[in-house]
Amino acid sequence: MKKVLLTVLLVALIGCFAFAKTMTIGFIPMTLSNEYFITMVNAAKLEADKLGIELLVQAGQRHGSAQEQMQIMENMITRRVDAICIVPSSSQGLIPVLRKAEKANIPVINLDTKFDAAALEAAGLKPIPFIGTDNYYGAEIAGWFALSLLGGEGDVAILTGVAGQQNAADRRNGFYDIISKEEGINIVAEQTANWEVEQGYNVTQNILQANPGLKLIFASNDNMGLGARRAIDEAKKDVVVIGYDAISAALDGIKAGTIAGTIAQFPAEMGIMGVQTALKIKNGETVPNYVQTGSKLIYQGNVDWFKEYLSQYE
């Protein structure tokens, strides 16, 4: 009797361990050296905890390294995770490892930066569900905001991201397409500052030198916008800055009145929905192929609300 009891206890104990976590998800943000992805990861962790899911987070050390992400994915496939959520560092560079995942029957969920659907199809891969935002649409919002601030006339400059990246092109195009329709507005400069503060600073110095009458700068991300702000202040000019990404330094800038506005995406929602989608797939439910998590203009009127919203995921 004692023996039986002991066995039952042992089995129950092992059972507890085995079923403590319903599933394991591999979570691969682009990097872990960026607030945006840290927010995404933290939200995903909270959600995974709530659902009793084990979350393995791994990121490359170098921004945009397809090879590092490929290795991480291979290692996760070895580890036989139940699903992989990934923010790909390039929209086309991971196809061989996506094939490995498909072969191993591990579903992949695409967050934030979309895989190139045509490339997936050409490679004979099944479509991969995407959860994220449309950068073109977000930049259009920035364009409408710029129009309302300028009152229909003035010189405008655009700081663009890394040449060749899809989101850099989308942000530039979304803003450009709205603003260039207005006849009184001239786009006098369009320069890349490679997403970086320091380059935003240098490039803006040069732009201000060449265009003393500049009224507004749209920086395709907040980092470049913060650099631009410093250059503008040093030159003692009165130029409006609009950014993108809603990083905390930009939100502080909005409160202080140095940055007019920024476009917020909702990385936390992407992380949460990524985990939920993985669970749904595991339970055999069908999931939508494309989910928009939305973009929102953050300005003085709603910056406090947004900061409070963000504080949940710190």
Binding site: M70, N75, A163, G164
Partner: protein, 311 residues
Amino acid sequence: MKKFSSILRNYGMFIGFGVIFVIFSLSSEYFLDVYNLMNILVQSSLIAIIAVGQTFVILTGGIDLSVGSIVALTSVSTGLMLTSGISIPLAIIFGVLVGLGAGLVNGITVSFGKVPAFIVTLGMMSIARGGALAMNSGKPVSGLPFEFERIASTEVFGIPIFAIYMLVIYAIGYFILYKTRLGRHIFAIGGNREATKLSGVNVPFNEMMAYAVSGLLAGLGGVLLTARLNYATPISGNAYELDTIAAVVIGGTSLAGGEGGLIGTLIGALLLGTLRNGLTLLNVVSYYQQIIIGVVIVLAVFYDRMKTKKG
């Protein structure tokens, strides 16, 4: 005890590698899986192959900072050639030749132009990266033919082809370094340049050859990376120069030149690959992975220093 310490001195990196291997085997149930061990080989192979050339250069007392950028340059060139319809074998050959060309420019400038290797290859690092970006206006090249991927994804008796490439390159490198005159001269130049010159060796030519080999293998690395991703991007190969230098010094080759060897470099590259793989399996956050890898590099060189001091 004395005997033990001498073993430790000569085979330290093997022991270090063994220790790391055992730790991972005990702490992760997924580590000692055939599939995973093959992963480690594949993931280490590119750095290992390029590190052969880096070993040649470092043995002469030089350094090659440009290998990462040459990887990007050859990767984008190969990608563009493939999409423009050039046949796969030709694209591979031309791609490797691009690397060889860059290596030759490095070698000629260092050995005949007498410009310090650090400066020359620092310049080439910037030139090749710029070239890789300019060639396709910063854009990645995709839509490469699927047959091209096969030179990376094929397996021979269950062994991934990348591991075989790696072994072949090491065999050839070993032969050149230990069985040919070029190899002996490379060791001699790094050991004592003046004496080598006085003994009638054509120092500049042999030195140049080391950089040429380095460029050639970086070119090969670029081609192989392109096949592995089936995709070419001008930002690829980032920090490969640091990884290859790390593999070389972990392997016990002295940065002063003249001392060291290829087997150590192979172990160094495998050790780096194993660390990255094992730490990922253990789900160590990437911040700490970087710290751990940094500590290993410094410990390895520290150990090497002790070795030279003692004996």
